[in-house]
Symmetry: C2
Subunit: 274 residues, 2 copies
Amino acid sequence: MELWFTEKQTSALQLSCRVKEVILHKESAHQEIAVLDTEPFGKTLALDGFIQVTLLDEYIYHEMIAHVPMVTHGDPRNVLIIGGGDGGSVREVLKHPGVEEVILVEIDSEVIEVCRRYFPETARFLDDPRVKVYTEDGREYLNHRPGEYDVIIVDSTEPTGPAAALFSRDFFRVSFRGLRENGVMVSQTESPFYNRSLLHSSCAYTRELFPCCLVYMAPVPSYPGGLWSFTLGSKSSHPCGDEVKSRAARVENCGYYSPEVHVSSFNLSPPFLT
Amino acid sequence: MELWFTEKQTSALQLSCRVKEVILHKESAHQEIAVLDTEPFGKTLALDGFIQVTLLDEYIYHEMIAHVPMVTHGDPRNVLIIGGGDGGSVREVLKHPGVEEVILVEIDSEVIEVCRRYFPETARFLDDPRVKVYTEDGREYLNHRPGEYDVIIVDSTEPTGPAAALFSRDFFRVSFRGLRENGVMVSQTESPFYNRSLLHSSCAYTRELFPCCLVYMAPVPSYPGGLWSFTLGSKSSHPCGDEVKSRAARVENCGYYSPEVHVSSFNLSPPFLT
């Protein structure tokens, strides 16, 4: 038998990968959860039919969503991650020795349970004593905590599912207010080729609030178009400032992130934004 | 009716896009040629079932395969393109005002005819008076012309079709010999995720011959994995040398290529090669 998983990336574009085994398939209160062993990507988490995590390339996505804002800030101690129930962003944040507390707010407790069971590569870092996990709505959590965080990482699913509110102007405002005075925020903002309007609106909301807003990109072959955008807002430090390269060089055990990648990833964006 | 084109990117990975119209579908002496109007990519050329050119992203591929070696050389006058019957690489090479002659050697005359008819966006540049088009085997052509070219661009199809010989050690040797003493060669070397062995062997062959061999990357969403590799060999100039940025700034009318992109595209490769 040939078994194929097909992701409907847009109404006119589909990616299909051969499946060795359907490890889990269930409905949570928020979304459809599937854990697949796929031939091209290895173990794969799909939510509502969209690939979120694969063992082939999750390190690129997680290193880039975490280290770029962390290094831009320079001395982050309190970090908030919205979404990211797989734990990959937590793993990367914990590579920064100055971090005192990581709060993960994931709306779907079943995503966390599934990842703890099937993705120890990322989810075991949720058990680190510096990490606190809350299963509630990210906007609600953040709304009551102004000025508490050095870095906020919005590691969400697609804007069509439970994460829709995380791409609203209101949520960017709440995040800005949740940051300390030198705070840095980053959001995953989808494909620059296939969801340019979301990237544009996220940039516009970030620019209204932060003195510095820049977009950077990373290759993630299991995601639509293979190139992923991240929108960064910084209250103070410039993400490509003079000290960034030496700070980036201190981040260890990365497969993709490096000082050169940090700076170069910002140079890939302008053409897609014009 | 829903019509979908499916590219078998690997034995376990397929990309499918909705087709508005099958404009042309024929067999040449060398391969199957299809021209499709697709929803996500616009007009699309597929050879043997693999997407070669789409109006969405051909500019990224062609700018990157042409300008990086041209700017690295600094003063290219005689340029040889192997493959590239669509004319996109020719279009980009002609943006360099010092170019005196561009030789295009495409094995399949029907690809050129089809592109002249359906892809004027790229193929009309084949009519430029500085361009000579030959329809023959690229290796044979080059074998009789030692030391004639400043830049050789190997703009081939997949290694499974008529282009297989263009990825052999022998062909890299013939190309090296075809270059002048400051010559620069570049080959498209497929996906760094899904065809790493081809990238490795191409690098090895290039390194055996050229004092400088470097790989650079560009995002091409219609190609497998969305990230494409190019392997560059240079007899003299370093592709990220001091003068490169000012030379790159003189290349006009680009949608993706820029001085920053030129340098950054080399920084995306090391992790994939280790």
